[in-house]
C-alpha cells in the first residue's frame, strides 16, 4: 500500500514476538521449575534458567508421584485421561454419525422430534446438571469407572449437526448408484458414506480428543479412588493448602505432562484442528 511498508512490517514482527513471549512465558516457567530443587523454589529463590534435576523430577513424577498424601504415579493418571479422552472422542463420533445417518437417509415417525431432542442437549452442559447426573451415575454403580467418566458426556448435538450438514451435501446419485449395484442401507453407509466422511471425522476427533483430555469438573466429582483419577484432577490434589508441603517441581512436571498430548495434537495436526474448530462452531 501507500505507506512505508518496511517499517510497519518491523512493528508487526515485534508485536507478534511480544505476543508469543506473553503466551509462552507461563509454560516456560513451568518447564524451568520442573527441573529445579523444591527447597530453592519454596524459599522464593527460583532461578529463571533450567536447573539440573530434570531426570530426577520427571522420574519421580511419572513413576512415584508426590511424597505426600496423594501418592499416585502420574503415568497412571495419564492412562486414565487417555482412556477417557479416547472413549469420549470415539464414542461421540460413533453415536453421532449413525444417528445423523438415520435422520438424513430415512423417513420415519418422530424423525424431527428426535432430531430436536438431540439438538437441545446443546443447552444442557454438564455444569448445569452436575448433582442430578452424579446421582444417576451413582445409582447405576458407575462411580470410579471409565463408563461413568465418559458415558454422561458422550452425546453430541454439535457432531450430529455437523454430520447431518455433511450428509445433506452428498449427491443423491451416489445412493442411487449403490442401490443399482444392489447395496443395502448398511453397505451404503459402510462403503460409501464412511470413507467420504473421513476428513470430517478426523477434524472432529482432534477437537473432541482435546475436549475429553481436558475434562475437569465431571471427573472431579465422580472419581473418589486415587487410582481412577485423571491428570487434571490429580494435579489439583497435589497443591496442598499448606503451601510448605506442596512439591512444586513435581506439580510443574505434572502440568507439563498434562499439556503435552493436547498441545502436540494441535501443533502436529494443525490443519485438521483449525478445520474442526471452525466447523464445530458453525
Amino acid at each position: 500500500m501507500v505507506e512505508d511498508e518496511g517499517f510497519q512490517r518491523y512493528v508487526a514482527h515485534f508485536i507478534l514476538w511480544v505476543g508469543i513471549a506473553i503466551v509462552a512465558f507461563p509454560v516456560y516457567i513451568a518447564i524451568v521449575a520442573s527441573t529445579q530443587d523444591n527447597a530453592l523454589i519454596a524459599n522464593g529463590q527460583m532461578s529463571l534458567l533450567p536447573g539440573g534435576h530434570f531426570f530426577e523430577v520427571y522420574y519421580q513424577t511419572i513413576f512415584v508421584g508426590t511424597s505426600g498424601s496423594t501418592r499416585e504415579p502420574v503415568y497412571n493418571m495419564m492412562l486414565n485421561s487417555l482412556v477417557m479422552a479416547l472413549l469420549i472422542a470415539v464414542g461421540k463420533i460413533a453415536i453421532s454419525i449413525i444417528s445423523a445417518y438415520g435422520i438424513v437417509y430415512f423417513r420415519f415417525p418422530f424423525r424431527m422430534p428426535i432430531f430436536w431432542i438431540i439438538f437441545i442437549t446443546l443447552m444442557l452442559p454438564v455444569e448445569v446438571r452436575i448433582y442430578p447426573t452424579y446421582k444417576i451415575v451413582a445409582d447405576l454403580h458407575m462411580l470410579d469407572s471409565y463408563a461413568g467418566l465418559s458415558l454422561p458426556l458422550i452425546a453430541s448435538a454439535t457432531a450430529t449437526l455437523l454430520f447431518r450438514q455433511f450428509f445433506m451435501t452428498v449427491p443423491d446419485e451416489l445412493l442411487e448408484a449403490s442401490r443399482i449395484d444392489g447395496a443395502g442401507p448398511l453397505r451404503f453407509f459402510w462403503d460409501t458414506l464412511l470413507p467420504l466422511s473421513r476428513t470430517n471425522m478426523a477434524a472432529l476427533f482432534v477437537i473432541l480428543f482435546i475436549l475429553g483430555w481436558n475434562q475437569y469438573l465431571w471427573p472431579l466429582l465422580i472419581t473418589t479412588r486415587d487410582d481412577m483419577q485423571t491428570i487434571q484432577v490429580g494435579i489439583r490434589k497435589m497443591i496442598t493448602t499448606t503451601d510448605a508441603l506442596t512439591e512444586w517441581p513435581v506439580v510443574m512436571a505434572t502440568a507439563v505432562l498434562a499439556m503435552l498430548p493436547p498441545v502436540f495434537v494441535v501443533v502436529a495436526m494443525q490443519k485438521l484442528f483449525v478445520r474442526g474448530l471452525v466447523e464445530t462452531e458453525k
Binding site: H13, I22, D243
Partner: protein
Amino acid sequence: MQKQAIFQSKLLPYALVAPQLAIVLIFFYWPALQAVIQSFLLQDAFGLSSNFVWLDNYVELFRDPAYFEAIVRTFFFSFAIAVSSLSFALLLAVMADKPLRGSMLYRTLLIWPYAVAPPVVGVLWIFMLHPSLGVLARYLRAVGIDWNPLLDGNQAAALIILAAAWKQISYNFLFFLAGLQAIPKSVFEAAAIDGARPMRRFWTVTFPLLSPTIFFLLVVNIVYAFFDTFGIIDTMTRGGPGTSTVTLVYKVYSDGLLGGNLGSSAAQSVILMVMVIVLTGIQFRFVERKVTY
C-alpha cells in the same frame, strides 16, 4: 431441507438413533428434569421427606445477597475476560494478517494454548504469582505493590481474569485471523488510495467488516467465562479468599458439595440452564446472519 433419495426401512432408523437417544435421555434430560422438580421442593434436614413449596427456593435465592453478588461477579468476570482477551487477540491477528515472512510459524506459536486445560492454566498462573514464591510476585513487590491474592479478594479476582483471558487469546486470535482473511484486500487498497492512514483504515474499514466475528466471539467468550473458568478458579483460589472469586457455576458446585440445601442447589442449576438457553439462542440467531455478511 430433506433428501430426495432415501432408504425404506421400518426398524433400522430407530436402531441408528437409539444409542444417542438413550444417552441423551438418561444422562441429559432425566437429570435436568430432576433439577427442575427438585427446585420446587423443600427437603427436611434428614432428607426423609420433601414438600412442594412453589417458587420458595427461587425467592430465597434472589433474597440471598451472596447469590446476587455471585451473579454480578460472574458478569463482571465475563466482561473483563472477554474485553481483555479479545482486544489483545485482535491486535495480534491484525499484525499476523499482514504479508509477513513466517506468518504460519506465528500462527502455530500463538494457537497452542487452546489445548491447555483450565486447571493447568490455574496451576501455571498461581505458581508465577504466588505471594511467597512466585517469580512475578517478586517484581510486583519490588515496585511496591502489596501483592497477596490469597488474602486480598480484588487481587484474587484480577488473577482469575488474567489467567482466564490468557487461555482464551489463542481461540480469539484464530477466529479473528480467519475473519480478517475473509475481507477482500481491495477494500483496504481503495481506502488507502483515498488517503486513509492505517489507524483510520482500521476503525472505518476493518473494524466494521469484522463486527460479525467480534459479536460471535463475544458470545463464545461469555459462555467460556461462565463455565470453563471453573477449573481455573478451583485450582487457583477455590472461590476464596472469602467468596471473592465464587462464580455461579462454582457456587452450584460448592453449595452442593457441602450437601446442604438440595432445593437451592437445584434452583441455581435451573437458573443457569435458562442463561445457557438465552446465550445459545443469541449465538444461533447470529450464526444465520454471519453467512451473509
